[in-house]
């Protein structure tokens, strides 16, 4: 992440937020519940015995407002399964947050589509796991999920909501890569591909067994290169790798606070015991995470051009190697693949 500069504009303000550790972006995992059972899901369970209720989430929103958050993403599990989802989403908009909603789309009925449209979200992001029902449903573990997704997407599209389809690349769907890209184009919805899988939040590494093959990953980056969308990071000495510990915050369904959605190694605390604003401001863990973001930039700069120019997540590195500054083999392979494609 390079210097924001001094010219008026969003980048300069973002730089100020980095300096002030103002969490511009918040990810709220409303619930562990989900009506799908994706084979590589990062969630450790699918129940909410100790989950936050609507009023508790709304109190979190108040604290986020005070902390200077601009954008809130509601996710899960499946966010729409939270019984107070709409109340929370409305509260977010009433507090002038920019709202994103992550959903599998299968629960978007006509009524829900109307309600979502009334919220004016800046984005609704849904998951597409295959170009066919067979592949998609195999990934989600739910027959009929593919059709349900498409129906939900159509309802939202008809109402003009800004949509995004996301496809995690796995060995299950990598053979349908071109068909998936074509499907998204045919649906006229922006599309995101990602070969990154993460262990479950409880440390279970079994999701990683679904990683795409190196050939599949290379083909994916080839397609991205054709569209001018190869991932690229420009690094400068003294800059931060990412907003970890500074401009992002995440809260899990039970109220545990993290400096980012992936950084689950230590929580800053729990909002049921300490108000979020106190946790954020006084947390040594947050400060430590911020230092990691700084150190990660320096570390990656010294690892050669391929790794230095490839986006890096310290949280994922920690999950895979135990060291937030050391990328694992998969990451290195992807970085080298991208470098090879970029500079043949």
């Amino acid at each position: 992440m390079t210097d924001a500069g001094t010219a008026p504009g969003w980048l300069r303000l973002k730089g100020r937020a980095l300096a002030l550790a103002q969490p511009l972006s918040a990810n709220l995992e409303l619930t562990y519940r989900c009506n799908w059972r994706c084979v590589f899901c990062y969630n450790p369970r699918h129940h909410d015995l100790r989950g936050l209720r609507g009023p508790e989430w709304i109190a979190v929103l108040d604290d986020l407002r005070a902390l200077g958050t601009l954008a809130v993403a509601l996710t899960g599990g499946e966010a729409l399964t939270h019984p107070d989802f709409l109340a929370i989403a409305r509260a977010a908009r009433e507090r002038s947050f920019a709202l994103r909603i992550f959903t599998n789309g299968s629960l978007v009925t006509e009524a829900m589509a109307d309600a979502l449209a009334a919220l004016d979200p800046i984005g609704v992001e849904m998951s597409l796991h295959g170009a066919s029902a067979e592949t998609h449903d195999r990934t989600t573990g739910r027959p009929g999920s593919f059709d349900a997704l498409l129906h939900g997407l159509e309802r939202l599209q008809r109402r003009g909501l800004p949509l995004l389809l996301k496809t995690p690349l796995t060995w299950i769907n990598e053979q349908e890569l071109d068909a998936i890209i074509e499907l998204a184009a045919r649906l006229n919805v922006p599309h995101k591909l990602d070969a990154t899988l993460t262990p479950r939040d409880d440390g279970d590494r079994s999701p990683l067994e679904y990683r795409a093959s190196p050939e599949g990953v290379e083909r994916m980056y080839g397609r991205l290169a054709e569209r001018g969308r190869l991932p690229f990071t420009e690094r400068a000495a003294g800059a931060v790798n990412c907003g970890l510990g500074r401009i992002t915050v995440a809260i899990d369904p039970e109220g545990n606070v993290y400096p980012c959605l992936q950084w689950k190694r230590t929580s800053l605390g729990n909002v049921r015991q300490t108000p979020l604003r106190d946790l954020w401001r006084s947390s040594p863990e947050r400060a430590e995470a911020a230092r990691v973001a700084l150190a990660a930039n320096e570390a990656l700069m010294g690892m050669g051009e391929a790794l230095a120019r490839f986006p890096f997540c310290p949280a994922l590195a920690f999950q895979r190697t135990g060291d937030p500054l050391r990328p694992d083999e998969t990451h290195t392979l992807q970085a080298e693949t991208v470098q090879r494609i970029r500079d043949p």
């Binding site: 980048l11 300096a19 005070a66 995101k192 990602d194 605390g269 300490t274 106190d278 006084s282 040594p284």
Partner: protein, 319 residues
């Protein structure tokens, strides 16, 4: 963005502290609304910036080492408090760090010249006052923390920004304060008084300044060095020591340094704070910049734009 710019914030309250230092300790420890009976006009040194070990939360001018010179002690967002020992002539000796940090509030006042840290740590349920030595630290201290007794009411949990301590509190006795005024995030401009001797009752003030009165100093500002705000004036003010002549400091965000220190004085015949001294430079209100809004797919997509859109990758709402 370098470490120094991210973690070490500059201490613009220096000049105010110097001005306060010039008044002597007595004026500092006098409760507010305070009226020093006789005092020379404050003289301010050249404004300078001081760094702390982390984002400062609360700062107090106290005589830590009891050498007769005011020092500055600040709690920060790290586990370390910063200390600048004053030299008695407006300057400072070497900077020291006190590892007993992590608390939000600095107490000061008669009988509490140490500027003892107090408050609660994130995740804990009790208020703590460090009772260790007041001497400047040259090695890690033996710290004994004790819960306050009686325990403050739930209503003031999360309270920060204690602005003064009533000198009627008996030195060395509990409770440490009888009257506390401050606020906490979300209710920054509300003053609450807590009378711990009555076993934890906290009462809201009669007047409640509107939240937006903090907007000039951004919404989440809270007091660092401050005095008693007039019910008619939601901004924190500091009594200079001259009867009825407050001057005002507007503080910035709690995560940043104070944005402005206003050394000028103003007065009304009745001694209440008057019109703001030293108004800020004015510019005609306007939109400063405008950019296209786009949703960025995500980090792993690199600098990817949505089809058909142009503009910078870093949109305001990117995650």
């Amino acid at each position: 963005m370098g470490l120094s710019s991210v973690l070490a914030h500059r201490w613009r309250g220096f000049c105010l502290a110097l001005g306060v230092a010039a008044l002597g300790v007595a004026a500092l420890l006098t409760p507010l609304p305070a009226r020093a009976q006789s005092c020379t006009a404050p003289a301010f040194a050249t404004r300078a910036d001081l760094s702390t070990t982390g984002s400062p939360i609360a700062v107090a001018a106290v005589d830590v080492d009891r050498d007769g010179s005011l020092d500055l002690r600040a709690t920060t967002q790290t586990a370390v408090m910063s200390l600048r020992r004053g030299n008695g002539t407006g300057g400072f000796l070497r900077r020291g760090d006190d590892p007993r940090g992590g608390l939000h509030v600095l107490l000061r006042g008669r009988g509490l010249q140490s500027g003892r840290p107090a408050g609660h740590r994130g995740g804990e349920r009790r208020w703590t006052v460090e009772s260790s030595s007041t001497e400047p630290l040259r090695r890690p201290p033996v710290v004994a923390s004790a819960p306050m007794s009686p325990r403050p009411a739930k209503g003031i949990r999360g309270l920060r920004g204690i602005v003064w301590v009533n000198p009627r509190v008996r030195k060395g006795s509990w409770p440490l304060w009888e009257r506390v005024r401050g606020g906490w995030p979300g209710r920054e401009n509300q003053a609450y008084s807590a009378n711990a001797s009555k076993a934890t009752s906290a009462s809201a003030p009669r007047s409640r300044p509107p939240r937006t009165s903090w907007a000039w100093a951004p919404r989440t500002a809270w007091c660092t060095l401050c005095g008693s705000p007039s019910p008619r004036d939601p901004l924190p003010s500091w009594t200079s020591g001259r009867p009825g002549k407050p001057f005002r400091m507007v503080v910035g965000r709690g995560l940043a340094m104070p944005e402005r220190v206003d050394p000028k004085e103003s007065t009304k015949p009745d001694g209440a704070p008057g019109s703001p001294p030293g108004r800020e430079r004015y510019e005609k209100p306007a939109v400063a910049w405008e950019e296209v809004l786009e949703t960025r797919p995500g980090l792993m997509q690199g600098c990817a734009k949505l089809p058909g859109q142009t503009g910078p990758c870093e949109s305001a709402t990117a995650s």
